[in-house]
């Protein structure tokens, strides 16, 4: 039952991810007074890509071909460990939050290798920038989740969410810091403004797009889909860790329905906030990103220290 | 008891001691090599005389031998040899003037006092004579070193070296009535050989730096060449 639940939830994750992307795009268009595409446009895109015959550039090796599958797989596994509508998932025991970060790293690594596999300037540029950013973002994220883990005395996400639920409404200063750090990291890792702009193909500003420039057809579809899942995953993390209320603690139908409704609601709200910020802010220069990320890193470490000093003090 | 209270023997010993110290001082102040050697010869003879006297008064027959040895070696042989060398090397006109002679003599006096101070602890366990003897011989040894330090002539170094030996012998004779015979002979042999070797070296040095000025023997040093 539990395993079934986990698999079902994972599938839900995979299925809902494009929807979220579509929603964000829609809200953004509205805010920019543009005519919005339909909510389901991402699905259509994926289907179109899936139908197309992929093109392999000449210098590419097997890494180029294998990368999309590994990226997608690692993202899906990451999604499997995060409680979406319910907690007490068996998958959370297979991989805890540190492994979650590890999954992201794995996917990123292969994406970067694929970017360098062709030997174009863009590939190298994107890969270099991606690794630079992630090498600052990853520790920030680790610190943020460690704050949670230390106050919950576990790195098991289900357990952690459970702990937050049980402890009820506790105003933890550390969580404020951690959430700030996590949000900043999420923006950076999912390649949104102001760190990267998924919509642009202007050579010198690309990061994520520069790496996948050579991809086409089903591989591009997989990568796009994976990044949508990743975006949603971060949203779910923020939503369920810091505002877990409403998530199903038992596998009864109405609890699950309740959980589903709640998470959709939370994600919608988060998406609106994200769209707002993207509309309000402009993309920054690549060498200002470090300041942004080191701020995120600082926030998370501060969160941890504030937990150590203010909360766990005996 | 005062000096007058001492036995005649002791007085004589002390007299000789004073004389030998005096000769050391003379050598220290002497700038002509020839006279330096001369004074050295006198010192040697004084030493021999002391030895003989000790031998006679306290009758240590074996001391006669050492007296004869030192008379022959220090009084006659080595001075004559040195004298010859000086003439053959044409150094008899040469002046080996020392800078600040006054300071050097002052230093000598200080050494005298110092050697008394050093040998004071010995006084408790031995007659006054020995104390003075040891003090004087120590002074002579130190004066000999001082002589070597202040002089630039190789010959002067030899003389200083030999006068150190004189000091030793004086101590040996007066305080311990001579060393065992083996040692005496060995030391004498060493001194003799040393004298010969010195002779050899004079010529070697001469042919390498055509003078006997040891200050010019300073090729081998660790200080920066530049």
């Amino acid at each position: 039952m539990a395993w079934l639940m986990a698999i079902f939830q994972t599938l839900l994750f995979i299925g809902l991810a494009p929807l979220l992307a579509g929603w964000i795009k829609r809200v953004k268009c509205r805010l920019q007074n543009r005519k919005a595409p339909s909510l389901f446009q991402p699905y259509r895109d994926l289907r179109k890509l899936y139908r197309k015959r992929p093109i392999v550039p000449h210098p590419a090796s097997w890494i180029f071909r294998a990368a999309p599958y590994i990226v997608f797989a690692s993202t899906v596994l990451a999604a499997a460990t995060v409680p979406l509508v319910a907690i007490h998932l068996p998958t959370a025991r297979v991989a805890d939050v540190i492994v979650l970060v590890g999954f992201f790293a794995l996917g990123r690594t292969f994406l970067v290798l694929a970017g360098m596999d062709i030997g174009t300037t863009f590939g190298g540029m994107g890969s270099s920038r991606e690794m630079t950013i992630s090498s600052l973002a990853e520790p920030a994220m680790l610190m943020a989740v460690f704050t949670l883990a230390m106050s919950a005395h576990t790195t098991n996400l289900s357990q952690a969410v459970n702990f937050v639920l049980d402890s009820g409404l506790v105003l933890r200063p550390s969580f404020v810091f951690a959430m700030g750090g996590l949000i900043l990291v999420a923006i950076a890792e999912t390649g949104r403004i102001p760190v990267d702009n998924p919509a642009t193909h202007l050579e010198l500003t690309m990061i994520h797009e520069a790496m996948i420039l050579e991809y086409s057809g089903r591989w591009l579809a997989l990568i796009e889909w994976a990044s949508q899942i990743k975006l949603m995953l971060y949203g779910v993390l923020i939503a369920n860790i810091f505002f877990p209320w409403g998530i199903a603690e038992t596998f009864t139908l109405n609890a699950l329905g309740m959980g589903l409704g709640m998470i959709v609601l939370k994600l919608a709200v988060l998406a609106v906030m994200l769209a707002l910020s993207e509309v309000l802010f402009a993309k920054m220069r690549i060498f200002r990103v470090q300041e942004y990320l080191s701020f995120a890193y600082l926030l998370s470490v501060l969160g941890m220290l504030s937990h150590i000093i203010l909360e766990a003090a005996r | 008891m005062g000096f007058a209270g001492l036995s005649l023997y002791s007085q004589a010993v002390l007299l000789f001691a004073g004389l030998i110290a005096l000769t050391s001082f003379l050598m220290l102040g002497q700038s002509r090599l020839v006279r330096l050697v001369l004074v050295f010869a006198v010192q040697g003879m004084l030493l021999a005389a002391t030895t003989a006297m000790v031998a006679g008064v306290l009758d240590f027959p074996h001391l006669y031998i050492s007296a004869g040895l030192s008379f022959l070696l220090k009084g006659i042989l080595i001075p004559v040899m040195l004298h010859r060398l000086i003439h053959r090397l044409g150094l008899h006109r040469e002046l080996d003037t020392i800078e600040h002679p006054a300071r050097v003599t002052m230093g000598g006096a200080f050494l005298m006092v110092f050697s008394y101070y050093v040998s004071l602890p010995v006084v408790a366990h031995s007659p006054l004579v020995t104390l003075n003897a040891i003090a004087v011989s120590l002074a002579v040894v130190l004066l000999g070193m001082l002589l070597m330090i202040t002089r630039r002539q190789a010959v002067a170094h030899v003389v200083g070296f030999m006068s150190i030996e004189n000091g030793l012998f004086f101590a040996a004779v007066v305080s311990t009535y001579g060393m065992p015979m083996v040692v005496e002979l060995g030391v004498a042999a060493d001194v003799l050989v040393a004298a010969v070797v010195f002779g050899v070296f004079f010529f070697q040095i001469r042919e390498s730096i055509d003078s006997l000025d040891v200050d010019r023997l300073s090729k081998l040093s660790e200080a920066d060449k530049s």
Binding site: V76 | L142, V214, D215
Partner: protein
């Protein structure tokens, strides 16, 4: 039994050295070999007739490595037996000082490190024979290489076996000296000579520090046998002195910042299979020494020590990887990353010390296990990478990343094996590097259970640094793999490189790669095997390491943290295959080959792709103050008013700050002091007489 096997392995190592000597161009094995044993021997070695006296037969190459392999095998066996048996065997040899014979002992700790030593040794001995072939025509005789390799290995094994300070130091120094000769093996280029000199100097100073550390304990314990040292109970001040000395000595060997500078010089200078042993194994021997001293010999532990180790360790970790990122020479890069990994190990040890001193024995044990596990893992993947670098060197005679590229098309098998090493060292699940880092984080997360607030806030900071380190490590090795193996080849001889078709080489690499995956996927049995070890060191066994069964890894408690690498691997493969099946098999759309997008400037060249220096440039910018960067730009301009740039030459080098702050000043100080002392010896004999005179005066005045 175990001790006996270990002894055999030591003997085998020594024998291999002697065999190499004997098989030299004019050694007995080559000259005075009777015909009846010559024929079959050569037939076995598929060699027709006696080779020309100058050259080396396959005999000279094979036999020593064969014996080395035997030694490795026996040491693994001995290690496993000692580790599982959990008892300590001791023996004494009638060697050494009259009142202090050589004491040997093999306890679980030594057994574990025997395993750490054995696996890379086997791999190296598989790898070696084909690798050293290129040396046999060189001007340096193979027998020297073989002899000192044997001595080197024997020294390391003896260090593990030693049970008294004297033998320990003899073996330790033997290890250093032999490896010094190996570093200086190709001494015709001055860099290697300089590296060897620096290496031996540091080894000497470090060894003296260790001797003094032993001396402190011996002064209190009254003897030099480890048992007596254990019974020594010095007061905190003295034991702190001993600890600091030991940390300096072992840390110098292990390459902790700021005593690490010899390491990136020396390790690349040696032949690659030696670099693998030095980086993969010798540093672990230093770690062993530290563990032996701090956890076993020292009776009591203070928390300040843990703090010191923690700080130094994390500093080494982050600085090491930052410097590694900036290297263009592959072997230098690997050496710097060894500094990083040793830093990680010592950080874990620092955690263990802190927890130990604050009474949290279980957590201390956890930290210790993390350190040991990382030691093993690093031994595996670093040897793999060094041997891989050696294979590249052997195929292409190229060390600089700037000239590589596209090797995955030239040497596919090597590329695949190297990828495993890359992923492991980048600490990605489900490979082994990740497991030990995961354990480290699990340990660090328990900081809340410590009383003192300083420590509670210190440990998270350290773990933050470590998180940064692991992210940077991923960057670094992605760069290595991407620049060396992917893209277009940047130089002609790389483009013409031939594939590796030496079964031995590939076998050696494959062995290590398999171990990397195996220990990554099934760490739990391994950690369970460490029970006897931790029992003997900390008096504690991790209780519920496999509470959920052997598939799961639950260091503290199932509900606190669990990780099942096997299932992770399974899931990844399953999902990946599923996508592949759905997307490829169903549609059956064959991909089409085409030119990549080149912005319309017809044709991509290797010159347009990112170089390794360019790849790490952002990091260099971000961490500017850490590096001492020298950048030079020469440009030739011509045309009216020199506006048109015809030739542009840009070069930069990144130097180690430790040189400027530590080494050059001390060197200058010694020279200045020597000059000053030199003035004393004026060469004037009267001055000399003056010295004697005044010495005499002063002494007389002193005594009377």
């Amino acid at each position: 039994m175990a001790l006996f096997l270990a002894g055999i392995s030591v003997l085998a190592a020594l024998l291999s050295g002697l065999a190499a000597l004997a098989a030299g161009p004019n050694g007995p094995l080559r000259q005075g070999m009777p015909g009846w044993m010559e024929k079959p021997l050569f037939r076995i070695l598929r060699e027709n007739g006696r080779p020309a006296p100058g050259r080396f037969s396959r005999l000279a190459r094979t036999i020593p490595f064969l014996l080395l392999g035997v030694s490795g095998g026996f040491s693994v066996a001995a290690g496993i037996i000692a580790l599982l048996g959990g008892t300590t065997r001791t023996a004494t040899l009638p060697l050494g000082l009259p009142w202090l014979n050589w004491h040997l002992a093999l306890d679980p700790l030594a057994g574990f490190f025997f395993c750490v030593l054995g696996i890379p040794l086997i791999a190296a001995s598989l790898f070696g024979p084909d690798y050293v072939r290129e040396f046999e025509c060189g001007k340096h005789t193979l027998s020297v290489l073989g002899l000192f390799t044997g001595l080197f290995v024997a020294g390391m094994e003896l260090v593990l076996l030693a049970d008294d300070a004297f033998l320990f130091m003899i073996a330790w120094e033997l290890m250093s000296v032999a490896s010094y000769f190996l570093v200086a093996y190709q001494h015709e280029n001055a860099a290697n000579r300089r590296a060897a000199f620096l290496y031996l100097l540091m080894a000497e100073i470090g060894a003296i520090a260790i001797i003094l550390a032993f001396g402190v304990l011996a002064a209190f314990g009254g003897g030099l046998i480890f048992e007596e040292l254990r019974n020594a109970s010095p007061n905190p001040a003295w034991s702190s002195i001993a600890f600091v000395l030991a940390l300096a000595g072992f840390g110098m060997k292990a390459g902790l910042v700021p005593l690490h500078t010899w390491l990136p010089e020396a390790h690349p200078a040696a032949p690659s299979h030696i670099s693998a042993l030095m980086s993969g194994v010798m540093l672990k021997i230093a770690v062993y020494g530290f563990i032996r001293f701090a956890f076993d010999l020292l009776s009591s532990v203070l928390w300040q020590w843990g703090v010191v180790v923690l700080l130094i360790g994390s500093a080494s970790a982050v600085l090491g990887i930052l410097y590694a990122l900036q290297q263009q020479n592959l072997k230098r890069l690997l050496a710097y990353s060894s500094v990083e990994n040793v830093g990680i190990i010592f950080t874990a040890l620092g955690l263990a010390l802190i927890f130990q001193s604050s009474g949290q024995s279980q957590l201390g044990t956890l930290g210790l296990v993390a350190a040991l596990l990382h030691a093993l893992n690093h031994a595996l993947f670093k040897s793999l990478l060094f041997l891989g670098a050696g294979a590249i060197l052997h195929q292409t005679h190229e060390q600089s990343l700037e000239n590589m590229g596209g090797l995955i098309h030239r040497v596919p098998k090597l590329a695949a094996l190297f990828l495993v090493g890359t992923l492991s060292i980048a600490a990605l699940p489900p490979f082994n590097g990740f497991v030990s880092e995961w354990l480290f984080f699990q340990t660090a997360l328990q900081a809340g259970s410590i009383q003192s607030g300083i420590l509670r806030s210190l440990i998270p900071t350290a773990s933050a640094v470590l998180a940064l380190t692991s992210a940077l490590a991923a960057t670094c090795f992605v760069k290595v793999y991407g620049v060396a193996f992917l893209g277009l080849s940047r130089s002609r001889h790389i483009a013409r490189a031939r594939d590796v078709h030496h079964p031995g080489m590939l076998a050696g690499l494959a062995l290590l790669a398999i171990c990397c995956v195996l220990f990554g996927v099934l760490p739990t049995p391994l950690i369970n095997a460490l029970g006897a070890l931790t029992q003997s060191l900390t008096g504690f066994v991790l209780p519920n390491i496999s509470a959920l069964g052997w598939l799961w890894l639950t260091p503290v408690a199932p509900e606190v943290a669990a990780y099942s690498p096997a299932l992770v691997l399974l899931g990844t493969v399953a999902v990946g295959w599923l996508c592949y099946y759905l997307l490829y098999r169903r549609t059956g759309l064959e991909p089409r080959r085409a030119e990549p997008w080149d912005c319309g400037f017809g044709g991509l060249t290797a010159r347009t792709q990112y170089t390794s220096g360019a790849f790490s440039m952002p990091i260099r910018r971000i961490f500017e103050p850490v590096f001492d960067t020298r950048e030079t730009i020469e440009e030739q301009t011509e045309g009216p008013a020199n506006t048109r740039v015809t030739k542009l030459r840009y070069q930069f080098q990144v130097l180690d700050r430790a040189w400027l702050v530590l080494y050059e000043p001390s060197g200058r100080a010694v020279t200045r002091l020597a000059r000053w002392v030199g003035r004393l010896q004026t060469g004037n004999i009267r001055t000399y007489l003056g010295y004697s005179f005044f010495t005499l005066i002063v002494l007389l005045w002193v005594v009377s």
